[in-house]
Amino acid sequence: MTQPATDVEITETLDCRGLLCPLPVYKAGVVLSRLASGDVLKLITTDPGALEDIPALARQRGDTLIATEQADGTQTFWLQKGGAA
């Protein structure tokens, strides 16, 4: 899952560039909590720790990490609230 999710409808985008972990984890958790099941959060980070933390967050919360992209020092995650359809 290192390809961008180009055909997914994004419900909300959260830009966490410049923020250190666990701040992106916290913010993503807050946003995912208020989204509806099936909604998609696009999360952009620059802390490499997010590559471990965000998949773990999705597992912990029971959400689905649809795709991950790494480019130019940023990581982008597409997270769907709830289990895979």
Binding site: G18, L19, L20, C21, P22, L23, V25, Y26, G29, G49, E52, D53, A56, L57, R59, Q60
Partner: protein, 328 residues
């Protein structure tokens, strides 16, 4: 915010008249009260509680908060920055009040499970409250999510936006107790104190007071109270699950007494009913520990009563169940 007002009467501590709420902050000439427990079974100990909830912002944390903010201001580190701190409530409340007085903003990362009362008070004071699960970091899973989050806020954006008072690492937290709480207790007991009891938390109190008292009299014994893992005693820390703060000086701690939640809350209820003391649960933990520690010991003991009971009414409602309601 500066409001122009006519010159008032000068602060006069003898009259308990204050020009500014900050003038109430304690020191050796303006100590918090020391009250003897006269109806509690603590063996041959003469146990006094230092009522820290009579500080202006309601807890022992007023001391450290004032010292830490003053140190940041003196170093020019507050200029244009927002303050961030990890706190189970009391430090944050003191910081929020002091920040409001100086026109600063405060963001608090607060562990989940802290009573609603504290979170509401913080928001009333204008602070932003970020409730944080202890297991926030899903990878390495330390039990201090609020601290990790506050640190990451302070370090993010090149450190340009936030400054962290960092009560777990700040020497000014220790200094506050070394310079105020310790000398107050020494003076209030005429130097006759034999035992000092305080909880493990940030460890500013036990390190600062313990160090001061042992410098005055090395035979004074310092007793730390530690809760059990998974406890519900806000402000206290179990080092079986939380990282030991960098400011803890173990060399001043002679004994560690571990307490369970149930007797701590039972003792809190008893302090309400038998001593007329409206205290928070950590005071119950400390008094319960004192009763266990009292076996085969005598002399003057001073325990810290870190905060009052008003901020825990939702916890106490659970404790009481139907008790005190009409039975018909």
């Amino acid at each position: 915010m500066t409001v122009h007002s006519p010159p008032g009467l000068a602060t006069d501590r003898d009259l308990r008249r204050y020009d500014d709420i900050r003038d109430l902050l304690p020191d050796v000439d303006n100590p918090t009260p020391l009250v003897r427990l006269s109806r509690s079974d603590v063996g041959r100990l003469d146990l006094y509680l230092k009522l820290e909830w009579l500080n202006p912002f309601g807890s022992i944390k007023d001391r450290a908060a004032a010292y830490m903010l003053d140190a940041l201001a003196d170093a020019g580190q507050l200029d244009g920055k927002e303050i961030v701190e990890a706190s189970s409530g009391n430090t944050a409340i003191a910081l929020a009040a002091l920040a409001a007085l100086s026109g600063s903003r405060l963001t608090v990362t607060i562990p989940d499970g802290v009573p609603e009362e504290k979170k509401v008070l913080l928001r009333m004071l204008g602070a932003e409250v970020w409730e944080t699960p202890d297991d926030l970091c899903p990878v390495d899973n330390p039990r201090d999510g609020a601290i990790a989050l506050a640190r990451s806020l302070a370090a993010s954006e090149g450190g340009s936006r936030y400054v962290m008072t960092n009560q777990y690492e700040s020497r000014h937290n220790v200094r506050a107790h070394y310079e105020t709480t310790g000398p107050e207790i020494w003076r209030q007991t005429d130097g006759q104190i034999r035992y000092f009891l305080a909880g493990f938390g940030t460890c500013g109190t036990i390190t600062g007071v313990g160090r001061y008292l042992k410098e005055r009299d090395p035979t004074i014994e310092v007793v730390a109270i530690e809760p059990q893992p998974g406890h519900r005693l806000p402000g206290l820390k179990s080092f079986a699950e939380a990282k030991e703060p960098g400011i803890l000086d173990r060399s001043v701690v002679d004994h560690v007494v571990r307490v369970d939640d149930e007797p701590a809350y039972a003792t809190t209820k008893r302090l309400f009913r038998e001593e007329g003391l409206i205290v928070g649960p950590s005071t119950g933990a400390i008094v319960h520990a004192a009763a266990r520690f009292a076996v085969d010991r005598s002399g003057i003991a001073v325990g810290v009563s870190p905060d009052g009971g008003h901020k825990y009414t939702s916890y106490f409602a659970e404790l009481l169940g139907d008790e005190g309601l009409p039975a018909f």
